[in-house]
Amino acid sequence: MNAPICSLTPSILAESTAARVSLAAPCARFSLRARGDLGPLEGALGLTLPGRIGTRADAGMLQAMCLGPDEWVLHAPESAASGVLSACEAVYATHPHSLVEISGREVTFVIEGPRAAELLTLGCPRDIETIAVGEGRRTLFDGATVLLLRDEETLFRMDCWNSFAPHLRHLLETGCRELAAEAL
């Protein structure tokens, strides 16, 4: 299911004094769409789905982020994928929803370092500071739609589609070098 469509392998892709960009190990991802009473679904997943767009909730290894009024993305370790699918399937009859596995569609860049936020401004038109620590947003990065998750002040995760990954990697690589050169 998680065939490596992307030519990149999990490793450090770029590193400088400004920031470090690496590719995260594959994980399970799901797109969840649901309306109405979310109670049964939350019971099945074992977590409260965050209500405001951009906010996140964790339960053990499962992470949920709200992307739209009726849309969430779920991240989990690969080993937990079948558990999430079967748990939601059990409540499907009483609470219709859409849960689609998108694990193979995206890869995750981890961007960290003292100037990580500044590196992101190279491709993102949004003010990075509006994304609070522990939140995330779906936004734009140099023309590609990405999910940007801020885990710490200077630690971001960026999920993008496989086909955009080489392009974004080059931009991040160049940005890393550029910011480091500026500091000299």
Partner: protein
């Protein structure tokens, strides 16, 4: 660059995250087969093309993905307000007052 407030995200964001989606409040006739050619043409093609406050649809494409409506002044490009899809047209007089 325009800054647009998404009524679903409740944030004011750069235009690059949005796409334009034509005039708002265009209602598709219930029974298209009952329409005359002129009425159908009116529905499909004829738009107001106003100079001034224009009701239009936008989509927060690279964000929540939602369509919503906005009132924009086509002369100054200034957004008077944005509101959720399905909400009634805001009263133009209240908008232009608050703009002053």
């Amino acid at each position: 660059m325009l800054l647009i407030r998404c009524p679903y995200c409740e944030e004011t964001l750069p235009e690059a995250e949005f796409t334009y989606a034509g005039e708002a409040h265009i209602i598709r006739p219930e029974r298209p087969s009952d329409q005359t050619d002129e009425q159908w043409e009116e529905y499909l093609f004829i738009r107001t093309n106003v100079k001034g406050a224009h009701y239009e649809r936008w989509r927060h494409m690279h964000g929540c993905g939602r369509f919503f409506n906005a009132v924009r002044d086509t002369v100054s490009d200034r957004f008077l307000t944005t509101y959720k899809a399905g909400a009634p047209r805001p009263d133009l007089s209240t908008l232009t007052e608050s703009q002053k």
